[in-house]
Symmetry: D2
C-alpha cells in the first residue's frame, strides 16, 4: 500500500446522467472505454467533476460500482471520498474499498471551521481506518483551506499520504511540494489538476495530471505525457496550447458560473460529440442551452472535434 505509485494521465471521470438522474450506464461505458483506448494511465471516479457533491450515497455507490465494473482492471481506479468531516469520509472510504477501489482521495475537512491541527489529524484518522492508499485532494476553492506543502511532505514521509491531487491553483506551493517530495525519496505521487498548464506542472516535477478536459479530448493529454517522457518540450507545449484552444468551452458561455459552466461545458460537448446520450446536470444545476450550447459547438468545430 505504501508502494502504490501512479504516473501519467488520470482523468477525473464525468458522470453521465439519465434525465431521471440515474447513471446512464451506456454513455459511461463509451466515455471510459474511449479514455482507456486513448491510453490514459488511471481514472478518478467521484472527483469534483464527477458530481460527488451532488450525489446521494446510493448514487455515489452506483457510480463507483459501474465505473469499476467497466474499467475491469485495465487501469487503476481512484475514488473520491468527499465529505465534511472524518467519520463521514471514512464511511465513504470503506464502501469504496468494498467495491474494489485502488486508492481513495479525500479533501481537508470543510464546512466546520478548523485549522492545520484538525487537517493533519483528519488525514491520519482516515489512513488508520482504511487499508487503501490515500491521496490528499488539495482544492481550496471548494474546501477553503490550503494543504501546506510542509504538512503534505510530513504526511508523505510517514506513509500517511500516498499522494496529492493538487487543484489549489498555487503553482509555487506545487513546485516546493514536488522538490521536497523528490528530496524525501519520492514517497508520494504528485498529480496536478490544473488542466491548462499541465506542461508547467510537468516541468515543476509532477508525476502526472488529472485533467477534466481529457473527458472531451484524452488523446492530446496522452500525447503530451509521452512527449514529456521523451523530453520533447516543444511538443509538450504545443499539445498544451492545442488543448487550451479547446478549453475555451469554459469561457464562451454567458450567464452561468461554477459547476454549471465547467462540468456543464463537458456534458454539452460530450453530448454534441455523441458520447453522452444526454447533457443532464445534477439538481439544482441546469443544463446549458441555446446560445451557450451553440458557442460550445463552435469551439468543438474549431478544434476539429465536431
Amino acid at each position: 500500500m505504501a508502494d502504490f505509485k501512479i504516473r501519467g494521465v488520470v482523468p477525473p471521470v464525468v458522470t453521465p446522467d439519465n434525465p431521471d438522474g440515474t447513471v446512464d450506464v451506456e454513455s459511461f461505458e463509451k466515455l471510459i472505454n474511449r479514455m482507456i483506448d486513448a491510453g490514459v494511465d488511471g481514472l478518478f471516479l467521484l472527483g469534483s467533476t464527477g458530481e460527488v457533491a451532488f450525489s446521494a450515497d446510493d448514487h455515489r455507490r452506483q457510480i463507483v460500482r459501474e465505473g469499476i465494473r467497466i474499467v475491469d482492471g485495465r487501469v487503476p481506479v481512484l475514488v473520491g471520498c468527499i465529505d465534511m468531516e472524518t467519520d463521514r469520509v471514512i464511511e465513504h472510504a470503506k464502501h469504496a474499498q468494498e467495491m474494489g477501489a485502488d486508492a481513495i482521495v479525500a479533501t481537508a475537512p470543510f464546512y466546520a471551521l478548523g485549522g492545520l491541527t484538525e487537517m493533519e489529524e483528519h488525514f491520519r484518522l482516515i489512513h488508520e481506518a482504511v487499508d487503501l492508499p490515500l491521496f490528499a485532494y488539495d482544492i481550496p476553492v471548494c474546501v477553503h483551506t490550503k494543504l501546506p506543502w510542509k504538512l503534505a511532505i510530513k504526511l508523505g514521509r510517514e506513509g500517511v499520504l500516498a499522494g496529492v491531487k493538487d487543484s489549489s491553483g498555487d503553482d509555487i506551493g506545487f513546485r516546493y511540494l514536488c522538490m521536497e517530495n523528490e528530496k524525501a525519496g519520492h514517497p508520494m505521487s504528485i498529480l496536478t489538476g490544473h488542466e491548462i498548464v499541465v506542461d508547467g506542472a510537468y516541468l515543476s516535477g509532477a508525476d502526472g495530471s488529472v485533467p477534466g478536459l481529457a473527458n472531451v479530448e484524452p488523446y492530446g493529454y496522452v500525447r503530451m505525457w509521452k512527449a514529456f517522457q521523451a523530453g520533447d518540450w516543444a511538443r509538450v507545449k504545443a499539445e498544451q496550447d492545442k488543448l487550451n484552444e479547446l478549453s475555451h468551452i469554459f469561457d464562451v458561455t454567458t450567464g452561468v458560473q461554477g459547476y454549471a459552466g465547467g462540468v456543464g461545458a463537458f456534458k454539452t460537448a460530450l453530448n454534441l460529440m455523441g458520447i453522452f446520450k444526454y447533457d443532464t446536470m445534477p439538481r439544482p444545476v441546469k443544463s446549458l442551452t441555446g446560445q451557450n450550447r451553440e458557442a460550445i459547438a463552435q469551439v468543438l468545430r474549431n478544434c476539429g472535434l465536431l
Copy 2:
C-alpha cells in the same frame, strides 16, 4: 405548514458525546431539560453547533431521535439537514420528517461552486420534496455564499421559506430582511444566530434568537426575550452585556481555532458545570485541556456559574 411561526429563544443544542463517540443520552437529557425548564421557546438539533458536520448518518439520526424523544412535544424542534447539495439534503430532510421534526433547516449548497440560480432552485426543490416548514440557514462563514435578503423575501412571499436562521454576520442585510419581511405581511420567522448582539437584532425586528451560549446560560436569554417583549430596552441591553461577559469563554483560550475553540468552550463549560459527563469532541477535533480548561473555569466563576 405555511403558517408555522416560531418566536423567542431557540438554542442550537450542543450534542454530548461519550468517549467512544456515541451520544451521551443522560447528559443530553440534562441539557435539554434544563433549557426547557429555563423557558426556551424551541430547540434546534443538528445545527453547526450540534456537530452535524462531524456526524455520520447513523449518528445524526441518533441525535434527532433522542432529542425529539427527550423534548416530548414541550417545544417545537427544528432539525438541521446540512449537506453539500440538494439530493443529499432532501435525504436528510425525509429522515427528519419521519422522526418527528417540526421544521427543517438547510443551508445554501456548498463545496461545488455555483450562484444564486442554483441557490434558489435548491431551496425550491427541498420545499417541494419535503412536507415540513423550511428555514434557510444563512451561514456564509461555512458555505461561502450569502443568501441575499431580496432572494429570501421572494422565497418567503411564495411560501418556499418559512423562515431564516441568520448567522451571516451581516447586520445590514439582516435589517433589510426584517423590514421587508414585515412589509410583506411577515410570512417568515427571522431568527438571529448572533448571540453577542441579540439585543440589536431584536431592535432590528428579529422574531427570535438561536444562541449557542444558551446551552451554558439559557436563563439570561429568556430574561432578555421577556424584557424585549415588555419593551424594557435598558434591561434587554443589561442582560446582553451580562451574557457577553460569559462569552469570553470563546477568547480566553490559546492555540485553538474554529470549532475546537467555539463548541469546545461549550462542552468544557457544560462539563465543568456538571451538565455534561464528558467534554468529548468529535473527531478530528481535540478537547480543550490544561490552561484552556482552567481559563474557561475562571470565566464561569466570574459569571457566578461555577
Copy 3:
C-alpha cells in the same frame, strides 16, 4: 489632546466637484451649512465618502482648507489622512494640522502585506509624530485587515488612540470594543459608520455615528441621536427605519458597483435636491445616468425629499 471627546452625529462630508474636477465651493457651503443647521455634532472631511482616495494632494488640501473655512469652528472637524503606509500618512496629518483640523483619522496600513505588529507600530508612529487626537478608521473592506478590539483597547488605554471610527461590519467586535472601552474608563470615542443600523450601535454603547446618508438627510440622524439621549428606543428605531427607506438609493441602481453606486447615489441625490450644482464623480468613476438617476429620484420622492 488625550481628553478630546466627540459624541453624536458626525457625517463624513461628500465632496462636490465642478465638471473640471476642482472643488465646487458653493455647493460645499450649502451642504456643510445644511448639516450644521440640522444639528450635527461634528464633520469628517476626506473620509472614504469624501473621495480621499481619488484626490491628488493639492485637491485634498483644497477640500480641507475650504471645509474648515466653511465650518468656521461651529463643530469639530475630523480629517482623514488615508494613505498606504506610515510616512505617507504622517505627511498628510501634518498638513491637516497646519490647516486647523481638530482630529485626524487614519486606517491600518494597506497595499503592502503585514500583520498586527505593523498595524500597532503604525498607529504609535503617527501618534508620536502629530500633535492631534488620532482616530483609527477600521475599514477592512478597503484595507483588508481588521483592527482587533483588543489592540484598539490597548492603544486607547495608552492614549495612542482617541477613538475608533468603525466601518468594519463586525457588530460583535464593535460590541466588545464598546464594553471594554467602558470598563477602561472610556478613554476613546467610539463611532459607528454603519448608517443602516446606527440604532443597534447605540444600543451596543456607541458614542456616535458617522453616517454617509446624513449628507442627504441629516435631520433624521439628529432626531435619532436625540431620541437615544432621551432613552426613547421606539423612536430611535422608527427614525432608523425611516432613514433605511431612503437608503434604498444604494440598491435601486443597476450595472454599477462600489463607489460608483454608493457615493454616486449621494451625489445624484444631492444634485436632484438642488444642494449640489453637479453630480460630477472623480476619475475614473462615471456619474449615474438615465434609469439609475430616475430610480434614485423615485426613492427621494417616496421619502418626501423631492
Copy 4:
C-alpha cells in the same frame, strides 16, 4: 512608444535605506551595478519590493533619480507609479517621465471599491495623460482585484498597454494572456513576477521575468533566460530548482509575515553578503534579527552565497 518591447530578466530593485530612512546611495550603486554586470535586461524601480508603498513622495523621487543616474542608460528602467486612484497615479507618472523613466508601471485602482469599468477607464486615462509606455501591474494580493486577461488583451491591442507585469498567482490566466497576446501580433511584453516558477512562465510564453530574488542572485536568473533562449529546458529547470533552494530565505523565519518576511529576507541577505551596508526596513516594519537573521545566513551558506 507603442513599439517599446522589453524581454529577459528585469529585477524589481530593492531600495537600501540608511538608518535614518534616506536612500543609502552607495549600497544602491553596488546592488544595481552587480545586477547589470550579471547581465539583466532591465530594472524596475519602485515596485512593491522597492518599498513604493512606504515612501513619501520625496523619498520616491530620490529613489528614481538616483536609480536612473546609476543605471545611466545601460538598461531600460521601468518605474512603479503606485497609488490609490487615477489622478494620484498620473501625478507620479509625470514625475517619473521628467526624471527619465523608460516606461511606467501602474496597478488597478485600490482602496475605493470599484469594478472592471473603473479599472479599464483608469488605464486609459493614465495612457492619455503620460507619454510613456504603460505596463499594467497585476497584483491582486495588494489591490484585491484581478486584471482579466480579456481586458488586458483589449487594451494591448488598442495600444493602451505596452505590457503586463503579472504577480497574480493565476497561472491559467497568465497562459491565456500569453497565447492571446501572441495571436494579436504580440503587442505587449508579458513579464512574470513569479520568481519560483519562472521556468513554467517561459514555457507558457512569457517575454521575461521580474524576480525579486534576482537582487540576491541575478546570475542564476540570467543563466535561466539564456538557457530558455537556447531551448535547453533541462537547464532552465535546473537553474530554477537551484534558485528555489535560495528562495527558502522566505520560509525559514518565524513570527514575521508579509513585507517583513519577504523584503526583510532580501535586505538581510544583501546585508550579510556585504552588498547593503544596513538592513534597515521602512517604517513601520522592523528588520529581521536573531534567529531569523541566522536562519537566512544558513540558507545563503547552503547556496554558496556566504
